[in-house]
Amino acid sequence: MNIKKTIAIMTTLTLTFTAMTGCGKKSSTETSGKADEKITLSVLAGQSTTDAGIEDMIDEALAKKYPNIKLQWECVDWGKDFQPKMQQYMQSGLPDIMIGKAQDIATYGSQGVLADLTGKSYVSNMLDAAVPGVTLNGKVYGVVYNALYQGVYYNKKIFKDNNIQIPKTLDELKAVCEKLKAKGITPFATHFIDGWSIGNITMQFAINDVFNKTPDWGDQLRAGKVSFAASPEYKNVYEYNKFIYDNTWKSETFSLQQTDCDARLVQGKAAMKVSGSWSIQNFLNVDEKFDFGIFPFPNQTGDSKLIFEPNITIMKSAKTKYSDAVDKVLEVMTTDKDLQLKIYNFTKTASMMKGVSPTFTNPSQADIDKYAKDNMIVDANLGNNQLKWGGFQEENAKDIASYLQGKMSLDGALKASDARKANSK
């Protein structure tokens, strides 16, 4: 009886203790105070497909300068899991550092959970062009680390062999597609199995056809002044998806994954891909000598611009207990040139830090420089800050997929977007 009692009490205590410790708030920090004491900072990293692996590089650089600061990483897919994680942590306590995209500043900065970084020395290491994208009500809430360029990536060899010039208008693009099809080449490489891919190209079209001309289109939508269904421009935008769908491997695109799709472009099975710099890593992994360029997806008026997207954006929790330590991490990331080069060369992306240029061979760089020189580059946040990604652009993309598969009419897809406008910001 005594043994039974003892076992029962011990089991109870163990289980109760386990349950209670499980309910307790996880502390991200071991000790603090003196400069040389060990500090562990929690980091939530919402990564793009190119970013997985940079955490080791950052750890290594940090260990050299501040061996007492350790980072405890939680790496998630930005598109799928960053928002859910942020939602969870906003209830239980945010990590010390968050890494997302510049468009997250509009979402979380307005909730008062991000620290104001205005005036910090490391903010001045960021390119001036990146600052507006992370500024909200005159305060800087993030450090943009790199940038992606979005547009139509094309196989230079195919264009050269078939004597194809870069199209500037939609009619010219249609002529290019006809020419390619006549030669037995699929014009566009696509992987519509990824809903984000449809969402991304739709926003690319919209930035040039809608937001470039009406920057506050989203605000007007919410005010009831414009609508998807009544907007000829947005109708065109949705129809461009159909144009791409009619000029790609229709039967496979909803089954083909991004890596396979990118490989096919490199192998010459398709001539173009509406994409972003995240594809470069795949292109060069398949063939490091692959020659490719980029041009903006032509709009109706022939004045479309190449899209620039501030990508890795580092944010600091407003309530972190280790503000100085977080500043030190940001200082290392923005001043260590070796680390920056390592990251840019690994992710195959453009630098957003002053005085640093990636050294990897980017065949599309000449095109980017040309559009930059001609002032033909536009920030993706122009559209992304007007119509949010999660819950809106993402949902519209699902309707567009149904429209492409003939399960929904174009008008139905446009009206469905109007129906969710209350959830568009």
Partner: protein, 306 residues
Amino acid sequence: MVLFPIMLKGVSMMHNNSLKRSIFLQYLSLILPGLMIFTFGLVIPLILGFKYSFTSWNGMTASKPFVGLQNYINLFKDKYVLDAWKFTIKFTLINTVVQNFFALLLAIALDGAIKAKKIYRTIFFLPALISSVIAGFIWLRMYSNILPAINKLLGTSINFLLFGNEKTVLSGLLIANNWQWIGYWMLIYLAALQSIPAELYEAAKIDGASVFDKFLHVTIPMLAPAFTICIVGITTGSLKVYELMVSSTGGGPGRASTSIIYLIYNTAINGRQYGYGCAMSVTLVAVLLLVAVIQLKFLRDKEVQM
């Protein structure tokens, strides 16, 4: 002298009370950890979810505006909710029938005197050991890379791109789900088959029963408890299908494979409509409870009759 038995009785009552109290405390101490986990992990979130279902909370802000029954009214008008329910019900119905049928068939086959049956049992059970997320990845690759490659090798033109079309995505998911779980339910039927006393078959044989008669009048009635477990398990499991889609179809193409749980997650978390998502969850819990109660009542009645 008269007082002595009364005193004895009093002492005995006190001793009994103390024993009862001691036993009660022991029981309490044993159920306390489980009760705590159940309360904090299930009861409280359930109550909170119910409370949030009457708000338009986005899951982030401090304020949770009360909207009354509006979320529940919207549910019945929302085409996407109805579509998600339609998909989930279709998936559940087909899954329950197919999975039970093949699990029983395999169990009967592997209960017989066939060679290497233990190896077959292991092979059929193996997929149940992997996560549904991995199963989703496997079948995504299978449909988009492996099977088309075999197609090419054999010079055939069978359409294996089942996840890529709104018309075939349900079939693709059913194949993947059945591949993963048939072996698991097969084991339950197998255990039930092996527990049927041989005397029953012998008695039936003496009575002149054929193989079919024995199956119908001995095997099936004796399997009744296993039917209850498998049918309720597969039905509730199918109604909650989520992980498989996460890594395979993403709920697409379009919304063609969006199950109700998938929609709840997307709405509440990605869509930042936590209150509305909670209202969907409350209806799902109600449906799950209703289905389980009806099935259990019906199947238990059958068990008694048999």
